[in-house]
Symmetry: C2
Subunit: 184 residues, 2 copies
């Protein structure tokens, strides 16, 4: 649930030293938006420190949190690979330090660097496993099952999530979350 990718982090750490590539470090404060759903994007972020959330804002005003991202997670790469506008919003849940890779650099590496390709393939495959397992689980089990799983993960990661975010992660209302919490 809190995704990390140490391999990607050390890969990018070493690329950072090569000044040719124009990779920089940037800070975002808590609650700022790194990517805004539907807008153009021209860089790729890799989280060095902190936690972000990726979420859809649906037309009916409801949020759905896809993932919580931490060390070594890439942001904006899907948009770059598929040449589309931002799929979802990405917001900083804590202060963030991120590597920023310019579009040109990322595309060049994609076209030439087998190591990047390998790491990305593994990351995307993993996300598919996660996202699809979760979709299935959330559709076919009760909210209480989903909540129990979420609390377990949260415990294990030692991470605290606001109730609003928990509800958005489960795809339910706050009211239902409160009820489910009682029921445990």
């Amino acid at each position: 649930m809190l995704r990390t990718n140490t391999e990607f982090l050390s890969y990018i750490d070493s690329l950072y030293k090569d000044e040719q590539l124009g990779i920089s470090l940037q800070n975002f404060e808590k609650d700022s938006l790194l990517l805004r759903q539907g807008e153009k994007n021209h860089r790729v972020f890799v989280i060095k420190e902190g936690i972000a959330k990726c979420f859809f804002l649906e037309e009916n005003g409801k949020d759905y949190i896809l993932e919580f991202m931490s060390k070594g997670q890439v942001l904006g790469e899907i948009e770059m690979i598929r040449r589309i506008d931002c799929l979802c919003n990405v917001a900083a849940l804590t202060a963030l330090q991120v590597y920023v890779i310019p579009a040109a650099t990322f595309k060049e590496l994609l076209a030439k660097d087998l190591m990047l390709n390998k790491i990305l393939l593994e990351e995307l495959a993993d996300r598919i496993i996660n996202t699809s397992s979760r979709a299935s689980f959330q559709q076919l089990y009760t909210v209480e099952h989903g909540l129990a799983k979420l609390l377990e993960l949260q415990e294990k990661q030692g991470m605290e999530i606001s109730k609003e975010d928990m509800a958005a992660y489960l795809g339910i209302t706050l009211r239902s979350l409160n009820r489910a919490l009682k029921g445990l």
Copy 2:
């Protein structure tokens, strides 16, 4: 919803000619299982003709259909990339003709062929877009919205799906599907 990938199909078409690679063609009859959730897998399939469904079978006995796959779609690649047992079941909805790529060949290509890497990255990125958008939509909108969208897609693809599969795709019971159909 009915995923295809013409680029992948022509790529594999040309690889097939190289006999060194040991890629073969195989037929599956309607309703047969290509991959069984939880079992080991040692090859990658690419659909040349026909339609398959990927679905989870949850412990409570319910099915959730992830995708309907057709021409040019890869099966088993995630398992190969992440070295895991089959994530879900894959069943033939129509008679199928598929290319079969041995594990060794696929891994070698992964390690050396930038073209394969590129095509796969684009395919996986696209699946993430699909799966996550759908998860969000299904969680945050009513069944009727989801059904309307499904019927629309089905119409557009000129594909017919059994009611049981429609329900499994929407993650609801047959009873609920029938009710929703009335409601339109």
